[in-house]
């Protein structure tokens, strides 16, 4: 008999992957999920964990990726792993595969989309976005998220993919993703879900736009560099905006003062990584001609506490489970402030699993944001 499964998550701090897999399996309990996602710190053996979950849950799609740290309502940390099991009361239909990027992003994404369409028996281009949603664990070390999101949009422009970039302790050297029983480094794990009940895409941040605006007058989007803002060296204009000298400018300013592309009143954050000469290197590409606002931080714990209810308010039903992608910059901020327990407690009203990611995705690549899918 196939049992339905209430959403259930598991967390382990074990750094030994065999022990971590055993703890995740024990934590998920007796279940027959349709989908199991897992996130594990990059040094973990993702193949071992993924295969162990596949053996334990043979009827489930199992997908995961490496992280900068992982969290659920059961616990949070860096070095271990989390998993979330969703049954047929949450997920009606799933397709999953790897998009292998060895022959370039477009080929990898197109090939994967064909596999997803074959699994579903219909083209993902034709899926109704009211009932379907894409989920992506993106290769997170090589700065190709814009191209990956664009390729997904070219294949299925009406179907939103939400997700994040796999982590590697914020080294941007090598990440891994797992799907279809295989772990790859130069790849994305892509899933398409038909939730059984209303769902919401979560995209939230704790920044609001200030009136201070700048226009990007010279940039190299492929390299994520901004050379000039308002016709002046980017570093000078940004330091002026923040109110410090160029010599004083450092990572704390970058962390606290991202720039935001405002779309219909909502910020799409572009986070600064470092100065590069008189240019600024961002974690996200910005086009010449774009107007960006200097952003001002609000309470990140309050932002987390209201994230689910705000996302699901239009549905009129309470949230039950979530898959989350939390920017590593958000992780750094709560760690610096010593409020990481409060932050994760604020998320813990809902069963969830998430990773601290190297970037977030929703229709495009974004920074310093919490994205995810919230299931009712």
């Amino acid at each position: 008999m196939i049992k339905n499964l209430a959403p259930r998550s598991a967390y382990t701090a074990q750094t030994d992957s065999a022990l971590a897999a055993a703890e995740l399996i024990a934590g998920l309990g007796e279940a027959t999920p349709k989908l199991v996602v897992f996130f594990a710190t990059v040094e973990q053996d993702g193949t071992l964990i993924g295969n162990a979950l596949r053996i334990r849950f043979p009827e489930a799609h199992v997908a995961g990726c490496s992280s900068n740290g992982e969290f659920s309502e059961q616990g949070h940390g860096t070095g271990g792993a989390v998993a979330l099991a969703l049954g047929s009361d949450v997920i009606e239909q799933v397709a999953s595969t790897l998009a292998i990027l060895d022959d370039g992003v477009p080929v990898g994404i197109e090939t994967a989309a064909a596999v997803l369409s074959a699994q579903l028996g219909q083209s993902i281009r034709d899926l109704d976005p009211e009932h379907w949603v894409g989920l992506g664990f993106l290769e997170g070390a090589s700065g190709r998220e814009e191209k990956i999101n664009e390729a997904l949009g070219n294949i299925a422009p009406l179907l939103p993919f939400v997700g994040g970039s796999a982590g590697d302790r914020i080294r941007f050297e090598r990440t891994w993703v797992y799907a279809s029983g295989e772990l790859r480094h130069n790849a994305c794990a892509l899933l398409v879900l038909r939730p059984a009940r209303p769902f919401a895409i979560l995209k939230t941040c704790h920044f609001v736009a200030t009136p201070a605006e700048v226009t990007v007058t010279k940039a190299d989007p492929d390299k994520r560099l901004i050379h000039e803002l308002d016709g002046r060296p980017a570093i000078e204009r940004y330091a002026e905006l923040v109110g410090v000298s160029v010599a004083e400018l450092g990572f704390p300013h970058f962390l606290a003062n991202p720039l935001g592309l405002m779309i219909d009143g909502e910020p799409w954050l572009r986070s600064l990584v470092r100065a590069q000469g008189s240019s600024l290197f961002f974690a996200c590409s910005v086009l010449e001609g774009m107007t960006l606002n200097l952003m001002q931080a609000q309470d990140i714990v309050e932002n987390a506490a209201t994230a689910f209810s705000k996302a699901t308010a239009p549905l009129g039903v309470p949230p039950r489970a979530a898959i989350l992608f939390n920017c590593a910059y958000r992780m750094i901020e709560v760690q610096i402030k010593g409020i990481d327990d409060a932050y994760h407690n604020a998320l813990s009203s809902v069963v969830h699993a998430g990773l601290h990611s190297n970037g977030e995705s929703y229709l495009g690549h974004i920074n310093q944001t919490l994205t995810g899918i919230v299931f009712s």
Partner: protein
């Protein structure tokens, strides 16, 4: 076949082409991130910029959204 001359005409044609009004948000957001043009908030200098109009049309074509014919 009518040639699109203004960004406003392009926005109207896109709205007419999409199956549902709610689809416009998703496609428009993709366009903003790829081209810098917000079809809901067209800047004066973008309105008749033929090179920029071509850039947006090209982005739509890559998505398989042909303004003069076909469907997304």
């Amino acid at each position: 076949m009518t040639r699109i001359q203004t960004m406003e005409a392009l926005a109207d044609a896109l709205r007419a082409r999409l199956p549902l009004p709610s689809n416009f948000y998703v496609v428009n957001t993709r366009l903003i991130l790829q081209t810098g043009v917000n079809l809901r908030k067209i800047k004066d200098e973008q309105s008749q910029d033929q090179a920029l109009i071509r850039k947006v049309l090209d982005a739509l074509t890559r998505m398989g959204v042909t303004i003069e014919g076909g469907s997304p």
